[in-house]
């Protein structure tokens, strides 16, 4: 059909070959990493037969389990708070035409998205130190909320922009009060956007190394920061096992977000 209009058969063959090479480039490294997490050998390059010993060892590693618990707490709290604040912000920007400081807020909301992690981490570290806030799990959570609000707001806003405001107005014409119109009409329609934003926030929080390592206090390490420390000390197949668990978590999140996106396109049509 028209999709290949610009491409000759030979060019398409070259493109296909290139595509396969890129996929190999993307997948072979993580494939090998997962493969060797099941090896009985202590070497990361020599296969020693199938074994789950590195996974067992992982579950016996106390500090590692603590860091997993910390990560889950940080991710859940920061996701819930940033989803609520980000959604309200998206509604304010998309549904209310003019209010005090709207343009400034719009700009302020986009900055955390484009600022590099290192700069954001340094800013927050200096801030917490200046106001005399002791670094702990709390400062990690506060920092994660700071970068997650913007991502949630952007995702929800995109969803709101595609909605007809007449739907909510119609509900109010039928004597629904503002809250009921929102809860019964708008909220169900933007729910996939909110869920998508929340999943993004969860992923970003679970992945962050740089900001967390700058604002963490003693004993408040998260999983990626803990693993980062392990990698810098010595590489062992145990890190492969932890990595595999983290990859599986990411893949679950990908399919979760895809499921929400599918619902999104269904309800728009």
């Amino acid at each position: 059909m028209s999709r290949r209009a610009g491409t000759s058969k030979n060019a398409d063959r070259v493109l296909s070959l290139h595509g396969l090479v890129v996929f190999a480039f993307l997948y072979v490294p993580i494939g090998l990493l997962v493969f060797f997490s099941f090896s009985d050998s202590a070497s990361l390059n020599v296969w020693g037969g199938w074994s789950l010993r590195w996974y067992r060892r992982m579950f016996d590693n106390g500090p590692l389990l603590t860091s997993i618990r910390n990560s889950v707490v940080v991710a859940l709290v920061s996701t819930v708070v940033s989803t609520v604040l980000g959604t309200a912000a998206a509604i304010a920007l998309e549904r209310y035409r003019r209010w005090l400081g709207k343009r400034t807020f719009d700009a302020l909301l986009y900055l955390p998205v484009i600022i590099p992690d290192v700069t954001m981490g340094v800013m927050l570290l200096m801030w917490f130190t200046t106001i005399g806030w002791r670094l702990s799990l709390t400062t990690i959570i506060l920092s994660h909320i700071a970068f997650n609000i913007s991502f949630v707001a952007i995702v929800v806003r995109a969803r709101l922009a595609g909605l007809d405001p007449a739907l909510e107005e119609a509900a109010m014409d039928l004597y629904a009060d503002r809250w009921r119109a929102f809860r019964r009409v708008t909220l169900p329609l933007i729910a996939p956007g909110i869920a998508g934003g929340a999943l993004l926030a969860l992923t970003l929080s679970l992945d962050d190394v740089v900001i967390t390592s700058l604002v963490q206090g003693p004993g408040s390490t998260t999983l990626p920061v803990f693993v980062f420390g392990l990698i810098k000390r010595q590489v062992t197949p145990e890190i492969n096992a932890v990595s595999t668990v983290m990859l599986v978590a990411s893949i679950v999140l990908v399919f979760g977000s895809l499921a929400f996106q599918r619902r999104k396109s269904d309800s728009v049509q």
Partner: protein, 294 residues
């Protein structure tokens, strides 16, 4: 609402507008306050600290304001780190584009929608996967007895690459390639392909049709992808820390070092500001180009 305004014109209309404005403001207020306290004020603090001095023990002292931290940026060692970071970020952006564009084009031109969907998922998985884990994978491949090292030795082309600049570069390329591919794919997928067909009907060659139609139409994707690769490459910390060595320090590591071993907060603040300015310049260029294409 409409009924009310019809019976009571003007006055009620204005009152209604004011109430709406108040409601909008109140919706934004929690996020607004949060971002002021945990983003805007910290940004100001970094700027203030970059002019501060430090005590003998390395503690920042908010007195004796000076430009010393900014002068240090021009010392050969520091300037070299900044230039190396800029160079690697530009190189990575260009290579991601050169590899990512034909790849995204290939994905977007598959005929069956189901096949495109499956291929897209295969791109999304590395995109969403933990960055640290993906970088760690290369630590093993590039290390002693690693797969890439062995292949290089067998071919007589390269030796152990770990802790060298090429290793950092490979890590950045691997890490950020999906960030380039996704916006490119989105732009090409959205594109009206009948325009290309029309160009062909008017006797444009395949290459001309690509150059005059496809490429300009996919420009927003090229710009978005370039920003998404350039900004984090410039501030990279994890990749050079895991795959690089002493001679491959990038500005991201150098900044963090000022808050650890080096204990020089004012200098660290000045360096962060350099990254910030580079990022702002890149985004302003982005928005201006974007405005011109629309």
């Amino acid at each position: 609402m409409t009924r009310l305004t019809e019976s009571h014109p003007e006055g009620l209309e204005r009152g209604h507008e004011r109430a709406e404005a108040r409601r909008g403001f109140l919706h934004a207020l929690p996020a607004y306050l949060y971002l002021v306290v945990f983003f805007a004020l910290p940004l100001v603090i970094v700027f203030v600290f970059s002019f501060a001095s430090r005590s003998r023990t390395g503690k920042p002292v908010l007195a004796d304001w000076n430009l010393e931290s900014y002068q240090r940026l021009f010392e050969p060692v520091v300037a070299q780190i900044i230039l190396r970071s800029l160079w690697l970020a530009v190189l990575n952006t260009v290579l991601c584009l050169l590899i990512g564009y034909p790849f995204a084009y290939w994905l977007a031109t598959r005929r069956s929608a189901a096949r495109r969907a499956v291929l897209l998922v295969l791109v999304l998985i590395p995109f969403w996967s933990n960055f640290l884990v993906r970088t760690y994978a290369w630590r093993v491949l590039l290390g002693e007895h690693g797969f890439v090292t062995e292949v290089g030795r067998a071919l007589g082309l390269w030796d152990k690459l770990l802790f060298t600049q090429p290793a950092v570069f490979l890590g950045l390329l691997y890490g950020y390639l999906p960030f380039m591919v996704l916006p490119l794919y989105a732009a090409l997928e959205r594109m009206d392909w009948s325009l290309v067909e029309a160009a062909r009907d008017l006797y444009a060659s395949g290459l001309t049709a690509f150059r005059r139609v496809t490429l300009p139409l996919s420009k927003p994707g090229i710009i978005a992808g370039s920003i998404l690769v350039f900004v984090p490459s410039l501030g990279a910390y994890v990749t050079p820390d895991i795959l690089g060595g002493a001679k491959t320090t990038l500005i991201g590591n150098y900044v963090v070092r000022q808050f650890g071993a080096a204990r020089n907060w004012p200098f660290g603040a000045a360096l962060s500001f350099v990254i910030l300015v580079a990022m702002l310049v890149a985004t302003i260029v982005y928005f201006r180009t974007e405005a011109r294409t629309l």
